[in-house]
């Protein structure tokens, strides 16, 4: 298979991590609840497929049950390799996916993209807002880009890597890559970038994620030796973050603090202008290193204008009237008219990439400090009814922990709480409260969150649990539950699932996690298990370890239970080509889009 075909097939399988969901939210969602969208963000804006939807709706069915490919990993100690050309040797079960047609676009044209959040900075180092990625990714390339369904190394600035041993990685860089200002991307540049990322004074968003990197050596201009302080199999995910993309040293030294509004990367588009609060314009990088499958120079477009339109209805009015070519679909009411509009095409993102409904318990807080009662609570809640009533049956019921369905680590967790009144009653009796109990359920103030809470409330009533819904402002609910320990259960939403389970493990499950309301181990030994999973390079072993972690979280402790998973959607004007290869909508991979003449 040619380089290009390889890329396009792999492109379908690209991850949609929390960050990508953030980007999706940023494109599709009004900026009002931006902070919460990342932390416990609402995915309620995502829509059901309709007549206009082009992408398959069954992506979520892809699981570890698919045939396994041969693995060259031996106990995590043998050298591992990954290349863009061969598909890499980090073999994992491959989900059934639909191949993406080869893009063969026409060069030229300008595209208008509407997004919901203003950028806070165009310097990836401090890109703290979910809206920043939409603007920045057009101008930068990832150091590594991983196909998270397969863990193959995708096209990126690191062309090939070797795991020498669990603490030594060697990266071979793509030759001939230049920044927009003409300076070279080479090993010395990346070494400087890593120092910049790791300098605490720079307050880099990736600082914590990259803390396991001890140092980088540069034996030659195209080779990097990365030395880790301890084994960390999730390091690839950290290196693949937008906040860790390489930037031009020359430009940083030239502009200093003003680099955030004068970005220089290696990406498909170079910076044009940033009009505060209004838009960012990027222009074609004629010297971009990437070509499409037919050998045509990418990107196709001459210019992209990314306009900030906070209100999803206004975004939609703009795409209907033709002033915008592409936008996320950010409101439940818009998917149907989008599908019926003959001038629009609707593209579905990866199913299950965000969480529309999740139950989070404070396992120390009475009356739910009894695991049987937590299970009774969860078994009584009908996620299917919520899906059907609030989301028109277009979302899917969660079956695992916070791992994206179809991702390499995803697997159904047998026995996890699911709607079953008989089981709920059994656990109620086992918990010593056969007649039920009273409990306050905190929710944040959102129409869909409130609707689903009311449905759960009626479910719980059937087994004698009187759930008193406490509606709070999003900041208050988050603080009161996760920081102040004021409530026993939080019925909320979450910004995204992840292909790399270490993200949720460190963010939620560990004792010092930001979103662990107990601030102690969820279960003795869990933190060691999480550390072991992070330090294991053999992906099959990792998968088994994360299965154990999911079992602890969902079954043994019933601590953090996703109920309904959602799916993002975007709308394009009919004259926009290349949208077939757009499964992870919201990600500004603009180099593949083109305007049909």
């Amino acid at each position: 298979m040619s380089d290009g075909h390889e890329y396009w097939n792999g492109y379908w399988q690209r991850r949609l991590s929390r960050r990508r969901m953030l980007r999706g939210s940023a494109v599709g969602v009004a900026g009002g609840l931006a902070a919460f969208y990342a932390a416990c963000g609402s995915s309620n804006n995502n829509k059901a497929p309709n007549a206009g939807t082009k992408a398959p709706a069954a992506g979520g069915a892809a699981t570890g049950a698919a045939p396994a490919r041969t693995s060259t990993v031996t106990g995590g100690l043998a050298p591992l390799q990954g290349t863009a050309q061969t598909g890499g040797a980090l073999a994992l079960p491959v989900p059934a996916t639909t191949a993406i047609p080869l893009a063969n676009g026409q060069p030229g044209g300008k595209l208008n993209l509407a997004t919901g959040l203003e950028p806070t900075t165009l310097d990836p180092l401090n890109a703290i807002s979910g809206g920043d990625y939409v603007f920045g990714e057009a101008m930068y390339d990832f150091f590594v880009a991983i196909r998270h369904f397969t863990l193959d190394l995708d096209h990126s600035l690191a062309q090939k890597f070797e795991l020498v041993d669990p603490t030594h990685l060697t990266f071979h860089l793509r030759p001939g890559v230049k920044f927009h200002d003409g300076s070279d991307f080479d090993a010395a540049n990346y070494q400087w970038n890593m120092k910049r990322l790791q300098d605490p004074a720079n307050k880099g968003v990736s600082l914590g994620q990259l803390s396991d990197i001890d140092h980088i050596d540069t034996p030659d201009p195209m080779t990097l030796n990365m030395v880790l302080k301890q084994p960390n199999a999730a390091i690839f995910n950290s290196l693949a973050a937008y906040t860790a993309v390489p930037v031009s040293r020359t430009a940083v030294e030239k502009f200093g603090d003003k680099f955030k509004s004068n970005p220089v990367g290696t990406g498909p588009f170079s910076f044009g202008e940033w009009v505060t609060g209004s838009h960012v314009t990027v222009k074609k990088n004629a010297n971009y290193w990437m070509k499409d499958g037919a050998g045509k120079q990418l990107p196709y477009l001459d210019q992209v204008t990314i306009t900030v339109i906070p209100d999803p209805n206004t975004q939609f009015a703009n795409i209907q009237s033709g002033t915008v070519d592409y936008t996320g679909i950010g409101s439940l009411n818009l998917l149907d008219p989008a599908g019926k509009d003959p001038n629009l095409q609707v593209v579905q993102g990866i199913p299950g990439s965000a969480v529309a409904s999740v139950m989070v318990f404070n396992t120390d807080k009475a009356p739910l400090n009894n695991v049987n009662l937590r299970k009774a609570f969860t078994f009584a809640c009908d996620a299917g009814a919520v899906n059907n009533t609030v989301y028109f049956g277009k979302y899917q019921i969660a079956k695992d922990a916070m791992i994206t369905p179809g991702g390499w680590a995803y697997q159904d967790t047998p026995g996890r709480p699911a709607f079953d009144v008989a089981q709920a009653k059994k656990f109620l009796a086992d918990g010593g409260q056969p007649n039920g109990f009273n409990v306050d359920v905190v929710v944040f103030n959102s129409p869909t969150i409130n609707q689903q809470a009311e449905l759960y409330q009626s479910n719980l009533k059937q087994i004698g649990i009187n759930a008193n819904i406490v509606i709070e402002d999003v900041g208050a609910a988050t603080n009161d539950f996760f920081q102040n320990g004021k409530f026993a259960v939080y019925s909320t939403a979450w910004g995204g699932t992840d292909y790399e389970p270490n993200v949720e493990s460190t963010l939620i499950y560990q004792k010092d996690s930001v979103y662990n309301p107990m601030k102690h181990e969820v279960q003795p030994g869990l933190d060691d298990l999480i550390a072991k999973a992070r330090q294991t390079f053999d992906t099959n072993q990792r998968k088994q370890l994360y299965s154990q972690i999911s079992d602890v979280i969902l079954n043994q402790q019933c601590f953090f239970v996703p109920m309904v998973l959602s799916t993002p959607y975007a709308a394009f004007r009919k004259n926009v080509g290349g949208t077939e290869a757009w499964p992870d909508i919201g990600v500004a991979r603009l180099q593949f889009l083109w305007i049909k003449s």
Partner: protein, 318 residues
Amino acid sequence: MQTYIARRLLQAIPVLLLITFLVFFLEQLIPGDPVYALIGSSGGQELAPSVIRQYRKEFHLDDPIPVQYAIWLQHALHGDFGKSIKSQRPVTEELRARIPVTLQLGLAALIIGIVVSFPLGITAALFRNSLLDRAITVFSIAAVSIPGFFLAILLIILFAVKLRWLPASGFTEVTTNPVKAIKLLILPAFVLSSGSIGGLTRFVRSSLLEVLRADYVRTARAKGLPGTRVIWLHALKNAMLPVSTIIGLQIGFLLAGALIIEQIFAIPGIGRYVIQGFTDKDFPVVQGYVLLVATCILVTSLLTDLIYSVLDPRIRFR
């Protein structure tokens, strides 16, 4: 006059201090932590504890609230509103970039408000209790009653999506592209002025009716002056005195309304900026906005009083 102006300006100082003080403390009552908001928006897991500590230190978030206020005030007195916690960009710069945008919108809304409401109010007064008067009354009440966000959506659907006469959203400076700027301003400015139109129409009507009943108007008519001359030179000029006060007060309403309108019409003004500031609990942004708007309203109030003396020579300031 100068003494009066100086006294009013001096009086404004404690008012501004009180407003910023109240807003600062009320802000603290809003649950949530700005750094927590940062963690959320960054995806949480990436922010290292050392970075969080730096944020807390840099923005004095661990200091007592009065100390935080004193630090903010000290900088504000030097024209420095601090940096946005989220974007790390100077609030003063951000506000400076966005003030002309909101001014352009507000001015357009004010012009539309006056241009529409004055003829309607005068017509309603002159044809009191007629069908026309009742129709104008219904229009005025509807203009005041319909929420701006709802009217905005309706107008966008009608004029941008269905008829395609006007763009749905966006902003351009008048100096850059006047035609485009005016097209982009029509819908938001009209929606923003809708409340003013309703209120001003009613006020012009009642003010004019009152004056039309005055003795000097009757005298003018008895002298045989033409009706138009009586209305324009005698009645309307006097009727405008209370109306000018109301117009001055509209500035505050327009600035408040801009918060919603800028959000819906994607106008990069100070209203949209502060909404994001509220969401992120970004108190330097909110404080900067409050001080700016409070100053605007106080200055407008002073100007209104001064205009009074121009319109009515009987008024003298001491």
